[in-house]
Subunit: 227 residues, 2 copies
DNA sequence: ACCCCGGCTTGATCGACATCAACGCGCACC
DNA sequence: GGTGCGCGTTGATGTCGATCAAGCCGGGGT
């Protein structure tokens, strides 16, 4: 195998710097020597629909958006991945989603075949992969409810709460993504996202010290909206 | 274990009567002795949000809807499950979805702990569970794109094609579900679903011999709409 | 310091889908 | 064979979010 200790050591070091995440160390442990570290610049594509599925990734730092496109360019962002999240694992040969770096990112890249081989021997790895799939399934299903049955204000409120859950500081959020990204995540337009945010600000539910920072003043109202 | 041969034999017999489905026999084989057969009448609840996750199911015959609700009663149907589909497997103790019988159903009910035990010894079972999760993830993600970024006509077209894929006869479909079910699956209202269908009929894309039957006259147009 | 440009906000108007309302149809049940 | 009722269709109107358009703000480059 082409996996060197030098690289995997750097992985560990980089990983220490991340914000904590539930199943992180569970998955980290058995795979420590199976991945290589890569850096991706803001805005860069990590993979595209139709690409080979020979590798998948884990976020060490930064934010990644996973998305799908229609022919005419309409985009749906399925998820924002943050430190600790796995992404890019698929069943078939061809990718059904693309992924791009919302901010500068450090990722660990795993060769799928190698991990599959490891999983065949190591129950903890296969268990982790199963949990990865189940968690993504659950969040995609929650996302369906959001997209199908909620109004604009509710969507934005739910997004803010969801992002807060992924963030270290739960009171003041840093939005790594643009309004367009948020809109494409929520099935809205940038204008509607913007208006919803300013409305929440007028209602003293949030404050917007800068366009990319959101201070949550009244999380109860947000919870109600997203309920 | 409380699993009798008599019952599992009946399972096999019933399963033979189902329409064929990809991974069906793969999963059937190792689990044959682990499930019990149950019958559910049309409209009946199979489980609800918040219930215990001690069992999961496979559809032998009939159609099941898996859905989520908001406090105010708004409903989002995540999927329609047909013969061969697994459903109701979750990671946590409490269910995040509910399931109801769209038509009279025959199901196989598996005890989760037993299957988990089997999966620990049998790679093929754990592999099947992984594929279950991955497939549900993929279809939920496709559903997100549908809900977030498509118009009413496109949604209905996509639904018809999707349902055709799950049906034996790909030219004339029998809709087991009501317009309300379709609407809640697509994030629309019954009126909009109805109007979209009659519009497709006017355009000679489909025929509607009865309210629950759809004959596909021009699948190319449908594919274009759903593209 | 200036400009430039991409991202964001705000306002005016439009349009797709929701809502409200009425009716039709098939079917089970007396 | 009525009658009631659930389900579906159709029409009129309303509304939320999209679209179109203009201007603002802030950061980077020269």
């Amino acid at each position: 195998m082409t996996v060197q200790m030098a690289i995997s050591t750097r992985v560990s070091a980089a990983v220490e710097a991340r914000t904590n995440w539930m199943a992180e160390q569970d998955l980290q442990e058995p795979l420590r020597t199976a991945g290589t570290v890569i850096h991706i610049a803001q805005g860069r594509e990590i993979f595209a629909e139709g690409d080979d599925t020979d590798v998948f990734y884990k976020v060490v730092s930064g934010v990644v958006r996973a998305c799908k496109f229609l022919n005419d360019g309409r985009r749906q962002i399925e998820a924002f991945h943050v430190a600790g999240d796995l992404f890019g694992l698929e069943l078939d040969e061809e990718r059904l989603m693309s992924a791009e770096a919302v901010s500068d990112c450090i990722l660990v890249c795993y060769r799928r075949r190698i991990v599959e081989t490891l999983a065949r021997k190591d129950q903890t790895i296969s268990r982790q992969l199963f949990q990865y799939a189940m968690q993504n399934m659950v969040s995609a299903q929650a996302h369906c409810l959001l997209l199908g049955r909620r109004g604009a204000a509710e969507k934005v409120a739910a997004f803010l709460l969801g992002w807060a859950k992924q963030s270290a500081n739960k009171r003041v959020l840093h939005l790594a993504m643009t309004r367009q990204d948020i809109a494409d995540y929520l099935g809205l337009t940038i204008e509607t996202v913007s208006r919803s945010l300013t409305q929440l600000e007028r209602d003293k539910v949030i404050a917007l010290p800068s366009t990319r920072e959101v201070k949550i003043l009244n999380s109860d109202v947000l919870e109600d909206l997203a309920a």
